[in-house]
Symmetry: C2
Amino acid sequence: MTLILSNDDVSKLLTMPECIECLEDAYRELGAGRGVSRTRSDSITPTTREDGLYSLKSMDGVIPKLGVSAVRINSDIITWPKIGNTMRRVKSPAAPGGRYVGLVLLFSTATGEPLAIMPDGVMQRIRVGATNGLGVKYMARADASSIGILGSGWQAGTQLSAACHVRKITRIRCFSPSKTNREKFCLEMTAELGIEVTPVDSAEAAIAQADVVMCATNTVDAVFFEPWLEPGMHLTSIKRPEVDEKAVAACDRVAIHTQDSKPILTATRDLDIPEYGEERGWGLAAGLDFNTLPTLPQLIAGEISGRASPEEKTCFLNNLGLGYQFAAAGAVVYRRAKELGFGHDLPTDWFTEDVHP
Amino acid sequence: MTLILSNDDVSKLLTMPECIECLEDAYRELGAGRGVSRTRSDSITPTTREDGLYSLKSMDGVIPKLGVSAVRINSDIITWPKIGNTMRRVKSPAAPGGRYVGLVLLFSTATGEPLAIMPDGVMQRIRVGATNGLGVKYMARADASSIGILGSGWQAGTQLSAACHVRKITRIRCFSPSKTNREKFCLEMTAELGIEVTPVDSAEAAIAQADVVMCATNTVDAVFFEPWLEPGMHLTSIKRPEVDEKAVAACDRVAIHTQDSKPILTATRDLDIPEYGEERGWGLAAGLDFNTLPTLPQLIAGEISGRASPEEKTCFLNNLGLGYQFAAAGAVVYRRAKELGFGHDLPTDWFTEDVHP
């Protein structure tokens, strides 16, 4: 049978500690050349609405040790509204019922068969959090106890829970432009983490004397700047443009998620795509070369050290997501779903064939 | 609802003339920069059996005019046995019930929603046939009436039916190494096409005085050679290695399917992959540059001419399949399936989400 799982299933089946553990092992495989990660590709075209574009995004990964491969697909209507002073990239939930379209298809490397199909949303947050959590584990000071977080949206929560899993955190301050949003977020996260999460009314107040600074926004303009760096600080970001490149260049050590430096973009002729314009040259002026920066798999393999002294300023950039992460997390979800009887069973014959393809 | 369709459904919903017509229009869109084709990527790793490898293949395409995008995925166990004198690439039907795994996912470019999921096998054959049929349409002599075909396997039939749709064909001869296979194939195709298809016992006998020579094998060694070329002949191939590169170079005009010259290969470290070794340097020694050869979309757009005189020797190489073709054919299948009530309806909510991905 092929399992159809929901986000609700995934949220019950994949915990943050398990996701951190499975990713850590999967990166070790990847670093040793025993796994395969296929760089994300984005296909961009017009859609029916004038103020948006259609985006088909896909990324693949294979982990023979876990016996799985995954394809993650996003089929999105994207808009770029200006909110406050910053332009944001906003996915429009345009599918029936006001919904988004992101899927993970999990296959067996032993038989080729489709094991499971599930939405990517919950897994996406957990794996982004887990990845930056691994950055904290390998680069932040061992005694780091305070976090300043910029952003209170859909990625911020898992950033905090991952960091709290790898360090003994006792103080968290949060800033985001909307007072209502950040206060709501702080209440929720205080309850979830059992650690006081305090809303503050400026970025500077959030990051002052923080051992770990986490940027977790969907901005395409910078929200963290060089003068805010302090000795011993670990800075982490879920997307390049949110940290000013001068701040990154001023750190003593910088590591990135993967040297797949950018998605492979294919678009219809003469299309104006705001985000790509922003990202394309990012880091160049500051001398940051995404083809040579050390990566998370290298940190995990011990090929490079994440920190040499308590005073060093370190930075981890989660520069690009990988289908490989969905293979790792998907393997955990699938195994637990089978054990616990989650999901809809569909005949595997619906997704296989007797005709040679 | 999201439609789950079978190969049986596809074979009833997609005819060769319709597939040729939809592809011709789709290539016109692509040539004009109004469509997007994302180059195929292959991720190759070990599998559980020693004599095979696991291959995850994906390719994407978007056609705004038709309102659809497609991702085609193949999750295969591949072996390379030596059969007779030639090495063949053989997919092993390793999924439960002895089945293959190839899927086409069709999405809406207006809403992003998943419209349909279907196996790729029947569509795969029809679109390969239709593509080479378009090559015949734009490059073979207008009065071409005879075909010599090499191969009697799963791709050969649609090659013939496509060619017979675009030219008035009255004589077909077929050679393949197995007498039993070629005789069975000729009986079947004679019945299907209403044209006598004659089995012959050598490649030379099949192609002598043929106006159109079609190679439709799964060999990784050449089956057609330069001395066999005749004035006015149109030569067509479904994969590069089956035609000796000297034969291609000796043609007056050569066109290819797409300038995406090869799939993007990612493999685990130190993996020995027979086929890629064979294909990598193909054509170089004969001065064939896949980055500059004219393409089918250019032929269709009229940017280049497929033939200047009845005496010219022409060649069309279907060098690489595109997800784009599955978007075009998938759009036809989906529209007709909705009209005629084919397939299993599943709740679209199973494949969409209220969580931001």
